[in-house]
């Protein structure tokens, strides 16, 4: 039984020194076995551990950092960073707008003329506070302005990062749409593996499930509606435009994930296709 020392059928600990955590990680991640065996007994027999409890100590010592590092590496990959930043951008924008409404509401009770939204908050933030209530109001307005600026910085970052993570997808869809598609799919890899019909309705899950349960017509587009080729196409041709765009975006995501080089042809093909679809409108 202990003769089986070939890679592929032995336990993770085979050939390892106790305390060699790097070797342990490499073994846990890269070795494999067709079926399990009584590893604790084999480890004791091989002298790797003194008894079962000692083996479990060694196993704990090896598996915890291995899983921690492997998870961290996966999480730090660029597409995951892109996902965090686009979500942070949306959160910052939404929160800034919400707080700006509060500022406008409050400012209306204190100043004669007040604008709403972020510009309103900006105007309030520039005021000289005259009493304690003003101080709080102006302070809150300053936070809104700062949050809005953070949202802009995040957008700039997304625009830069999207092009690095998925160059073809970004060329076709624009950086923000590219980032949103990757976020909705959970990563570039999962996006690249989705069929075009799925990409087409990403972001329209509620409508899609209502449709699948037989209660609604099928959604024609999800988040790709934000693309001018869908939004600015006449309503009766929007479904065709969405299908065409989704098809090219899917191909772009696959190139970005599997090869990474640029294919400018894609853009030209899409432009021509959309032109033909739109031409149907003009009699």
């Amino acid at each position: 039984m202990t003769e089986k020392t070939t890679d592929g059928e032995g336990g993770w600990f085979e050939g390892l020194e106790r305390g060699d955590l790097e070797g342990a990680r490499e073994a846990i991640e890269n070795r494999s076995a067709e079926s399990p065996a009584d590893w604790p007994a084999q480890a004791v027999e091989a002298g790797f551990a003194t008894d079962e409890g000692d083996y479990y100590d060694a196993l704990h010592e090896a598996t915890v950092p291995t899983a921690r590092e492997a998870a961290a590496e996966r999480e730090q990959s660029d597409d995951q960073q892109l996902i965090h930043s686009i979500r942070a951008m949306d959160d910052a924008t939404r929160t800034a707008n919400e707080l700006a409404e509060r500022v406008a509401e409050w400012a209306g009770s204190r100043f004669d003329r007040s604008e709403t939204g972020i510009p309103g908050a900006r105007a309030v933030a520039a005021r000289e506070p005259e009493n304690p209530a003003d101080e709080r109001l102006v302070g809150l307005a300053a936070r809104v302005v700062a949050l809005d600026e953070e949202a802009s910085d995040l957008r700039e970052f997304v625009e830069r990062a999207a092009g690095e993570v998925a160059p073809n997808l970004t060329t076709l869809g624009g950086p923000v749409l590219a980032a949103r598609l990757i976020a909705l799919a959970g990563g570039l890899k999962t996006l690249a593996r989705k069929p075009s019909g799925t990409l087409q309705v990403l972001g329209a899950e509620e409508a899609l499930f209502a449709h699948l349960r037989g209660r609604a017509p099928s959604p024609k587009h999800g988040i790709i509606y934000t693309h001018e080729y869908v939004r600015d196409t006449a309503r009766e041709h929007r479904g065709s435009a969405a299908r065409a765009l989704a098809g090219k975006l899917t191909i772009a995501a696959r190139i970005d994930y599997y090869s990474g080089d640029r294919r400018p042809n894609l853009e030209r093909e899409l432009d021509a296709r959309i032109e033909r679809i739109r031409a149907r409108s003009d009699p």
Binding site: G10, G11, W12, A27, I28, R31, S32, A33, E34, S35, P36, A37, D38, W39, P40, Y56, D57, L59, H60, T63, V64, T66, A67, R68, A70, A71, A72, R74, E75, Q80, F209, L212, R213
Partner: protein, 244 residues
């Protein structure tokens, strides 16, 4: 220390469960009465709450309420706890070796580790694994593995044969995952499975999905008992099975 035998008074519950449901695993009601709890799991009274709650002994991990050593095991957050609440007998005595597929953040896995000998916790997604590792940090008997439960050969060089497989994976082909991992289960072992209907097919009625999953499962397992996990978990079926 353990008050199990006293509370249950039903030493032969294991056999009862298998007899009652051998032919028809789809019964929706589950077994009646309270199942035998493994050593290390008990019902605790909570102030301000009606009725006792399941609890295990260990360090709290996710802000769950605790009472001395005992920490609440919430059936709404854990499908295994929900199975106990629904009266399924899982056939656990405590101190088992467990392979946990789909450990996620380690909420349930931490409770299972409280009353098991060792728990091999397999999770495929990076984000929840971050939390799972934190849970494993102060649980000597919990081994986290970032691996795909659909490819058992990628962790068979680490995981030993076990007494129990707990499976809660949100993927299509949940029966296939259980069958692929059957190689880890001892002949007298137990599969504790939470089937999520929506992972298989959102358009089909959950009852039909469960029927299909159980049919596939019977290729390698004998289904001992089942119960829908409502109201704790919508569209989930709890299943206990043993290898055949």
């Amino acid at each position: 220390m353990s008050d199990d035998p006293g509370t249950s008074g039903d030493g032969a519950s294991d056999n009862d469960a298998s007899d009652s449901d051998a032919g028809d695993g789809t019964s929706d009601t589950g077994s009646s009465g309270s199942p035998t709890l493994p050593a290390g799991v008990t019902y605790r009274e909570r102030s301000g709450k009606s009725g006792p709650c399941l609890a295990t002994r260990g360090t709290p991990v996710y802000g769950e309420p605790s009472d001395g050593d005992w920490r609440l095991w919430d059936a709404r957050r854990s499908k295994v706890a929900a199975m106990y609440e629904k009266g399924i007998d899982l056939g656990l005595a405590g101190n088992e070796k467990v392979l946990y597929l789909g450990a996620a953040s380690g909420t349930t896995a931490s409770h299972v580790a409280d009353f098991s000998r060792v728990v091999y916790a397999v999770e495929f997604a990076a984000r929840p694994t971050r939390d799972l590792v934190g849970v494993a940090d102060d649980r000597e008997n919990l081994f986290p593995l970032l691996a795909d439960a659909r490819t058992p050969e990628t962790y068979a060089h680490v995981v030993e044969p076990v007494d129990v497989i707990t499976q809660d994976v949100a993927t299509r082909g949940q029966a296939r995952v259980a069958l692929a991992n059957r190689r880890f289960l001892r002949d007298d072992g137990r599969l504790i499975l939470a089937v999520k209907a929506r992972s298989e097919d959102v358009t089909t009625d959950p009852a039909d999905v469960f029927e299909a999953v159980l049919a596939d499962l019977r290729e390698g397992y004998e289904v001992l008992d089942t119960a829908r996990l409502e109201p704790f978990h919508a569209d989930h079926l709890g299943v206990v099975a043993r290898p055949r």
